[in-house]
Amino acid sequence: MKNSNTDIRRFMQSDPRALTFLALPAFALFIVFVVVPIISGINISFTNWNGYSQEYSYVGFDNYRKMVSDPQVWTAFKNTLIYGFGSTLVQTVLGLAFAMLLVNRFLFRGFARTIIYLPAMVAQLIIGYIWYFIVTYERGALNDIVGLFGVAKVDWMSKGTRAVLIIMMINSIAYCGKTMIIFIAGLESIPNMYSEAASIDGANTWQSFRHITLPMLLPAMTTSLVLNIIGGLKMFGLVVAMTNGGPGYASHSLSSLINNLYFANQQAGYSAAVGMFSFVFIVLVSIVLRKYLEKKEEQYNG
């Protein structure tokens, strides 16, 4: 008995494996609020639960079968791809352009950096409400400008595809400041001697950008791509604020559709099934993306 006590003491005092105990509180939260909900979500997705009553029954694969033929889900899926990959494209282009412009010192550089990054401090939902005053039909700030040119007012968010593209653009503009900061950090880490050597060898601006700056920015590119794609695929608050999925269901993302099915339609079972689909989809995209970009980076470094 005494022996085992000293064993435990020795284990706690000097065996590094004992330190894993320090990670247990965090891991416990992970089990209770991530693993359990995912399992229970899978369970709920096989029921016709309405979200509040005590009674529900198992319906097998009905929810999943319904999902495959539900135009709402397909539209939301397509929109989610646009929100994820479209925003990332615009954010990367804008972020890189702003970073190139604002990396060297000149008058108002700091001011411009501050303002471009400012919207990143604001919740997606609130960004949506702020832009509401710009794109709204009646008295909208954008329509005031359009009016100056003698053009009739436009109901910007009334058409599905246009609404989706506008939401994507607003998301890109509001959060490209983060991408810019990541690229500025990347640009600052490139030693000057490379571009100097290139200019001595007679490389023009484009060549030195294409063959020196861009490859050296690959790590920054990797992080910003992962951040933006995963962030965009999770799009929720902005859609709720701008259109709440409308007109009809035309601008829903998967997240806002899940929310709508649950709160507005009380189809908790179906909502959980769509939730599982979006979960699996986003995790798959993240894994494939990381693997691909890691390989790309190795190619350049090796």
Partner: protein, 279 residues
């Protein structure tokens, strides 16, 4: 000679860069200008949002604070944010130490679980989380929202902390062990005092994320008394309210605290963003 000429050419174009930078900044500030301008208008004022009222009225601000309970929402948001951030810093830091120092199989497994959480879209699990919290009695409670918030923001902090700790030489730990420090005391005595910079980055990043959260709060906090900023603002826009200046004023009040902190401590915010980007 050629070098000099080139740098002269560079500074020569700087005025153009300044002009472009100011135009871009103007474009990015325009949405904020619109809500500021609108928030100072009276309800009867139907002039264009672009025209700043010649006599700013504070009527909408009074309305937003009084009827919209924006003050209460700020207090609630502050409670959720402060408690969550403190827990995240503490739990994240102590978890990161073993995970980054000893790459045993179980530690690697735990770390990859945390990385996985960062990919989970909140909405995909919110229905089951809601159900779970109902059975635990955690709906409409601060501890309910705080636990969920902590869980989903912890991975980022564990990740950033363990990256940072990996950069602290292991020899420090070994020297301390030889000097008779118990292994559980190495973290508070040796590692923690060196973690200042990364703690400020994690604090800022998670603080901003939680302050701005909407999805978790929407499901967990359904009582009007408990509503946070994002929930309060959305009430202004959805409940058929036609008082747009008041909605704008509420938005300004809720954005202002973070915007002011950001402008004052900009250096740290930018650094936080950069730290999170390092893989």
């Amino acid at each position: 000679m050629a070098e000099k000429k080139k740098s002269k050419l560079k500074t020569k174009w700087n005025w153009l860069k300044s002009v472009i930078a100011v135009i871009i900044a103007g474009f990015f500030f325009a949405p904020f200008y619109i809500i500021l301008s609108l928030s100072f208008k009276t309800r009867a004022d139907r002039t264009s949002y672009w025209l700043f009222p010649s006599e700013p009225s504070f009527e909408s601000y009074m309305y937003a604070l009084d009827r919209g309970d924006i003050g209460l929402a700020i207090v609630n948001t502050l409670i959720v944010t402060v408690f969550s951030v403190v827990l995240i810093l503490f739990l994240g830091a102590i978890a990161a130490y073993p995970l980054s120092r000893h790459k045993t199989k179980i530690n690697k497994f735990i770390l990859s679980c945390f990385v996985g959480v960062m990919m989970v879209p909140p909405l995909s699990v919110l229905v089951p989380i809601y159900k779970e919290l109902v059975s635990m009695g955690g709906i409409n409670t601060f501890w309910g929202i705080i636990l969920i918030t902590v869980t989903y923001n912890l991975p980022m902090s564990v990740f950033m902390f363990s990256n940072f700790i990996s950069g602290i030489p292991k020899e420090l730990d070994e020297a301390a062990l030889i000097d008779g420090c118990s292994q559980f005391m190495i973290f508070p005595r040796i590692i923690l005092p060196n973690m200042g910079p990364v703690i400020s980055s994690v604090l800022i990043l998670t603080g901003v994320a939680i302050w701005n959260d909407y999805s978790f709060q929407l499901y967990v906090l359904q009582k009007p008394k408990l509503k946070t900023i994002t929930l309060a603002i959305s009430a202004f826009f959805t409940e058929g309210s036609t008082n747009m200046p008041a909605a704008a004023a509420a938005t300004v009040i809720s954005v202002l605290p973070l915007a002011v902190i950001y402008i004052c401590l900009q250096k740290y915010f930018v650094k936080g963003s950069m730290d999170s980007a390092v893989k």
